[in-house]
């Protein structure tokens, strides 16, 4: 089983480019984005709840957000075939590094 933490997206922000428009905070229905008052830019404070709709990324006028989707899923309904002799070579995965 994949855990919630493993299926969390990585959200990268180039804070220097943030223009403070607030689009990401306004558009996110998972309450991921908050304003970092001290540093003057938005930040993905609750990235664990991102479900990768990419609305923040697509609505950012400064193009400073990159949402990296997870490469795994909670419950793969066919997971039980992963180690099946007939399929295990077909379903072999490589790790990717971001």
């Amino acid at each position: 089983m994949v855990t919630n933490k493993e299926k969390t997206a990585k959200i990268l922000i180039d804070a220097k480019k943030c223009v403070g428009c607030g689009n990401c905070m306004r558009i996110c229905i998972q309450d991921v984005w908050y304003w970092n008052e001290a540093e003057g830019h938005s930040e993905p404070r609750h990235a664990e709840d991102c479900f990768y709709c990419y609305q923040c990324e697509m609505s950012c006028p400064a193009n400073c957000i990159e949402v990296v989707p997870p490469t795994t899923q909670y419950y793969d309904a066919f997971a039980r075939f992963d180690n099946d002799e007939r399929y295990k070579d077909t379903y072999k995965k490589e790790e990717i590094k971001v």
Partner: protein
């Protein structure tokens, strides 16, 4: 005992609407149109105009085009194929005949449906032939929010409503908290509309209904109906689990045989039948199964794939695609998937696939005026989809249905508020609920929220519970629910966001319990979408199970459960074997 004013800021209105998605906004505008003098307040944990699922979706606007679609054909099709005779046929018919006027109402509110220069809507016939989809703009909620502000609707955003407050049999108010500074709000109103979406258990991409509205209505004594129907599924890329929309007719086994046509012919959505068939293929050595993008199907076109080889991007069969904005978004998702997915060897147009369970239930019971069983509470949108027993969803019906139900709920909620006074709020009740909601803040090092989510996810994502249901598996699931719920008082939180999640997990567990209790009672397999499939009772039993299962909180907090016969004798469409 504390006075009310010392417990939080009291906010008064005539009608309080929970949820600022398309259903809540439509309700609010309708009430102001019917009763301009009423003070209407909409509260949402997100921001109006972007809140809810409707701000993201783009599968068109369901319509019965006059002269093209006959609403009665739709009633027959949905009753026989989706609700499988558990449908409240009178209610479904009422809705089917009201749908075109909903579209006209939406236009009167400023929503600009794309049209050709000659004024014709961009339209696509649904594969079942009994309904049409009209192209919509993706900013539909922004337009509705603007309209609501123009007619004087008030909004409170980023406020999490945790509970309804009860005085006698009536709902006197609601308790809410500012997600940023945890200011406590005590809402007083004469009537209430719950428009908070269904429960999707926090395990799906894009669909995030947490069941809060359902759970708070249950705790206040509202009846629930059809809670057992909660399973849909997606075809997903085997290697990363991302859904492949439009794939239901295009699944193949290793021998190149289209197994969609074997196990789920003519089904316009991904179904449990297809998943069970694919499992069988795998077990019998005819896997792996894959999706073939090279074969055009209606369902692929309907979510925006290319038409024929001569089509330019943005066009299907020489016509403009009906959801150009949605396609921009879909294209972005595909780009991201290509960029970050581990691409498997072989032909990328024939990716290996798996399935992912997409659980959802919406059991808040309503009558055909969208009134719940509570005396002054109505519901709108997907929160009461199962509870309405209309079983009317087909692709594209989400937005139209939410708007239509909002318009309908607005009549009762507005009329009630126009001729009554609010009930007194009980301060002791507020104090108890407030303390309960805020308690996790005292346990900053408490149990991890994400760890608990993993335990919850097993119950709604692992096919051995959610799909392959049996008395044994559901009893085991209920034992796990009880064990997880016993740990709820150990959860810790450190801000508004995490506090809200503690309450969400509580709501979700309650609704999982409803789903499996009702599921155990129903000794059969029934309902096409959000189906209950039982390994131990794999067939539909029209002789014994043309019944609705009802749930309600008992006096000692136990979950009462009983059945009501579907009044099939007075309905037009009846199963052949009853």
């Amino acid at each position: 005992m504390s006075e009310l004013k010392n417990l939080g800021t009291v906010i008064k209105s005539d009608v309080m609407i929970l949820g600022a998605g398309i259903a809540g906004l439509s309700t609010a505008i309708s009430i102001k149109e019917n009763h301009p003098q009423l003070d209407v307040l909409v509260v949402d944990r997100n921001r109006a105009g972007w809140a809810g699922l409707s701000g993201k979706s783009g599968h068109g606007f369901f319509d019965m085009v006059p002269g093209v679609n006959d609403p009665e054909d739709f009633v027959k099709y949905q009753t026989e194929n989706f609700g499988e005779y558990l449908t409240d046929q009178d209610f479904l018919r009422q809705n089917a005949f009201a749908i075109h006027s909903t579209l006209l109402k939406a236009e009167s509110w400023g929503i600009e449906f794309p049209k050709d220069p000659d004024g014709i809507y961009h339209t696509q016939m649904h594969p079942n032939g009994v309904a049409s989809l009209i192209a919509i703009p993706l900013d539909i909620n922004v337009t509705l929010h603007k309209k609501a502000c123009e007619v004087g609707v008030r909004f409170m955003e980023r406020v999490y409503v945790s509970d309804l407050l009860k005085t006698g049999e009536k709902i006197s108010g609601a308790l809410g908290f500012d997600l940023d500074d945890l200011t406590c709000f005590i809402f007083s109103a004469k009537s209430f509309v719950i428009a908070t979406h269904s429960c999707q258990f926090n395990v799906q991409s894009m669909f995030n209904g947490n069941g809060g509205g359902i759970a708070m209505a249950y705790r206040a004594g509202a009846e629930m109906r059809n809670a057992e129907f909660g399973v849909a599924n997606d075809v997903v890329y085997k290697n990363d689990g991302h859904p492949i929309y439009g794939s239901c007719q295009s699944v193949y086994n290793k021998d190149g045989v289209n197994i969609s046509q074997i196990y789920a012919p003519n089904q316009p959505e991904v179904s449990l039948d297809l998943q069970l068939g694919a499992e069988k293929e795998m077990e019998e050595g005819r896997g792996p199964v894959y999706m073939d993008f090279n074969v055009e199907t209606h369902s692929m076109k309907s979510v925006g794939f290319r038409g024929n080889a001569d089509d330019k991007p943005g066009f299907v069969d020489g016509k403009r695609r009906i959801w150009p904005d949605a396609l921009v978004w879909q294209g972005h998702i595909m780009e991201k998937a290509e960029k970050y997915r581990v691409i498997q060897d072989g032909d990328p147009t024939r990716p290996l696939i798996s399935f992912k369970m997409a659980p959802e239930t919406s059991p808040l019971r309503v009558d055909n005026n969208y009134k719940t069983s509570l005396p002054n509470v109505w519901a709108a949108g997907f929160v009461c989809y199962n509870g309405s027993a209309t079983f009317e969803w087909i692709r594209g019906n989400g937005l139209a249905m939410c708007m239509k139900t909002g318009i309908r709920a607005a009549v009762g909620a507005g009329n009630f508020a126009a001729c009554t006074v609010p009930a007194e709020i009980d301060a002791a009740q507020v104090e108890g609920l407030k303390n309960h909601f805020l308690a996790p803040l005292e346990r900053k090092d408490g149990m991890d929220l994400e760890d608990m989510m993993d335990r919850i996810a097993e119950l709604v994502q692992d096919p051995k519970y959610i799909l392959h249901r049996s008395d044994k598996s559901m009893a085991e699931a209920l034992e796990k629910v009880a064990a997880i719920r016993a740990d709820l008082p150990k959860l810790g939180a450190y801000d508004g966001h995490t506090l809200a999640k503690c309450q969400d997990w509580d709501s979700i567990l309650l609704i999982i319990e409803m789903m499996y209790r009702a599921g155990m009672m129903r000794k059969e397999t029934r309902v096409r979408v959000w189906r209950q499939y039982r390994d131990d009772y794999p067939t539909t039993d029209n002789k014994n199970w043309l019944k609705w299962i009802i749930l309600q909180k008992g006096e000692n907090d136990e979950m009462k459960i009983w059945t009501e016969d579907v009044p099939i004798h007075r309905y037009k469409y009846k199963p052949a074997d009853m």
